[in-house]
Amino acid sequence: MNSSRLPAAEFEVEEVLRAAHAAEEGSRTEPDLDMLQVLAADGTMASGLAADIAGTTVDLGPYLAQDADHLRSLYRDMFLIRRFDQESTALQRQGQLALWVPLTGQEAAQIGSGRALQPQDYAFPTYREHGVALTRGVELSQILRLFRGVTNGGWDPRERNFHLYTLVLAAQSLHAVGYAMGLQRDQLADPSLPPAASIAYFGDGASSEGDIHESMVFAASFNAPVVFFCQNNQWAISVPSSVQTRVPLAQRAEGYGFPGIRVDGNDVVAVEAVTRWALEHARSGRGPVLIEAYTYRMSAHTTADDPTKYRLSRDEQEWQPRDPLARLEAHLRSAGTADDAFFEELAAEARTMASELREAVLSMTAPELAERFATVYAEPHPLVQEELRFFEQYEAGFAEEGKHA
């Protein structure tokens, strides 16, 4: 992530991406190998789902939720979070946010997995999981506090069991495993507690970091109730996922001896089913699971990014027909389970949300630096106190008197 307040790059944007690049591109596209899917890109829906897990066929049917109400609510979440994304992008362009990290294209992966969580589960996002935040019930405007630069956090993670965004890639994956080790111990101490799991979100780029490995080693070693949820959106800023791996990322799990599943990350129904299964697997003491949601970042990495530098519009167009919202809309319409009124109502709801969001952002006040001294330590700290005293005197204009106490 780089800041939007930067001067624009002075170097000319290359007019055409080189032929070499285009050639590379060709070989980059990984085959959609063994990817679980229920809802096809054209909106047709299968009625069952089975996964091959370490050579055994597992029926995920019981985890599938396909009734009309449920599908409509999934669509609603995806629609609202896309609208949220658009509004936040607009707010950034208008200078109200320092930066924005769009999720467009990844709604199914996030809403599907987020909806699979139970209240007692705890989610560790990276920085793009606004959709998961919505499913957890986090007040969306709070997310924008981070991007407005008034806090590095934004919400109380304990309220909705949704952790703060962690910007150092992969670091949170270990926190998720440790948290799961805590859940294990809680359960041992009090077996009447509802079984719970944690879930760690990370990207295809982050998968290369050592912390991802160590988190999988620890999770396997302690059979921790954790689900690793990798959104392979094909890109780590400008670097294609083929630089991080030459096989599906889900396959990494085999090296640690726990299940790894690749799911169509643009199919919200399949994502939800797979994640439900994985969470239950974890909660019931059977250990960790890795899910790779194969999806696509349809927008820029952040509002400071310029994807024309590194990817062809052809590529972006290729993914357009796989849009997670379009396919569920197609399904709902063709199945007759949602009519124009539904979509119009939803659009209206989204408009209201957007304007409330805008209001909330504009009313967010900047903190005072003086307040920041209070949260460095939990207990009194003489250096912090001394520096705060200095700062307050300095600010109060005593500074000019020459000598600080």
């Binding site: 705890y122 806090t151 590095n152 956090g153 109380d156 993670p157 304990r158 952790h163 703060l164 962690t166 150092v168 670091a171 994956s173 270990l174 926190h175 998720a176 495993v177 440790g178 948290y179 799961a180 080790m181 805590g182 859940l183 111990r185 809680d186 041992l188 101490a189 944690s198 050592g210 912390d211 160590e214 988190s215 080693v217 620890f218 070693s221 302690f222 920041r372 209070a374 949260t375 460095v376 330590y377 939990a378 207990e379 700290h381 003489p382 250096l383 912090v384």
Partner: protein, 324 residues
């Protein structure tokens, strides 16, 4: 009152923490059956079980990172890093996560993780087993760093680190693990983040911590023979530093020597020298003199005795201070 070594005092302190708070747990490499390569956790897995005393996979980032997660779930993990030189794979988790969690959450979250690190040289060991990296942690806000120099402090400071709401790194002076001392297991502990004047003097002050405290005391005794009355302060806490105690001392003595094993350049002695030079400018009769390691990787065992600050090096520094 009981006589015990520093290693045993830490063992007993850990035992007390494990007994007092069911949310505490130990994590590290070889801390279970083996009891750690220094036997500091000896017997604890036997007595508290594998869920409380966890032999972790061999990965320092993993140890610190999962400890943070455990802390988020309400636990109080006490991590052991096997040797000073092996903390660096965990540096990212300590610096960007553990230290910043409280600020990141605007004070809503805390991560009361304790990290025990045996540190320092003088044990005749191979590379990476004799380093003093405390300055690399002290610069980062959000961490607290303490280092006991005797059994009484060792017993209490580890327990105080565990109950502290902030993350605390405890640097344990490994070459003093077998130094014996009296421990009062009933006495209320003093503030672990304060310095302690171990010996009174009027002509100069030596500040030292951890393994060099006995050296500083011996140097002060030797200096007495030259007619110099030297005050000795055990710093005890490296972050925060108890500058009040040091300043007060220096305003009385007018001279300050700071000694640590870590290399002088960029070491914590620079911070002390800078701050005391400012606070006690008009009282100083000589510049603050630092005695520390040279700007080189910790040298091979066969020459470490020449490298480590010893009584003579401190006396030489005193000579320089008195020459002004």
């Amino acid at each position: 009152m009981a006589t015990m070594t520093i290693a045993r005092a830490i063992n007993e302190g850990l035992r007390a923490s494990l007994t007092n708070d069911p949310k505490t747990l130990l994590m590290g490499e070889d801390i279970g059956e083996l009891g750690g390569v220094y036997r500091v956790t000896d017997g604890l897995k036997r007595d508290f079980g594998a869920m409380r005393v966890v032999d972790s996979p061999l990965a320092e980032s993993g140890i610190i990172g999962t400890a943070i997660g455990l802390a988020l779930r309400g636990y109080r993990p006490i991590c052991e890093i096997q040797f000073d030189g092996f903390v660096f794979p965990g540096f990212n988790q300590i610096t960007t996560q553990l230290a910043k969690l409280r600020t990141r959450s605007d004070g809503m979250l805390s991560a009361p993780v304790v990290i025990r690190i045996p540190y320092g040289g003088g044990i005749g060991s191979v590379e990476h087993h004799s380093e003093s990296p405390e300055a690399l942690f002290a610069h980062t806000a959000g961490l607290r760093i303490i280092t006991p120099s005797n059994a009484q402090d060792a017993y209490w400071m580890i327990q105080q680190a565990v109950t502290c709401e902030d993350p605390v790194i405890v640097f344990e002076p490994k070459r003093r693990y077998w130094l014996k001392g009296e421990v009062d297991t009933s006495a209320p502990a003093g503030d672990p983040f304060s310095a302690q004047i171990l010996r009174r003097g009027t002509d100069a002050t030596i500040v030292a911590y951890g393994p060099l405290v006995p050296v500083a005391l011996a140097a002060a005794t030797a200096a007495e023979e030259d007619g110099r009355s030297v005050e000795v302060i055990d710093l005890r806490s490296i972050s925060p530093i108890d500058f009040d105690t040091v300043t007060e001392s220096v305003t009385r003595t007018g001279r300050l020597i700071v000694a640590h094993e870590a290399p002088t350049f960029g070491g914590i002695g620079g911070e002390i020298a800078a701050r005391i030079s400012e606070r006690a400018f008009l009282s100083l009769e000589a510049p603050v003199i630092r005695v520390g390691g040279f700007h080189m990787p910790y040298p091979v065992a066969r020459v470490e005795e020449q490298y480590l600050p010893d009584i003579d090096r401190i006396l030489e520094a005193l000579d320089r201070a008195f020459a002004y």
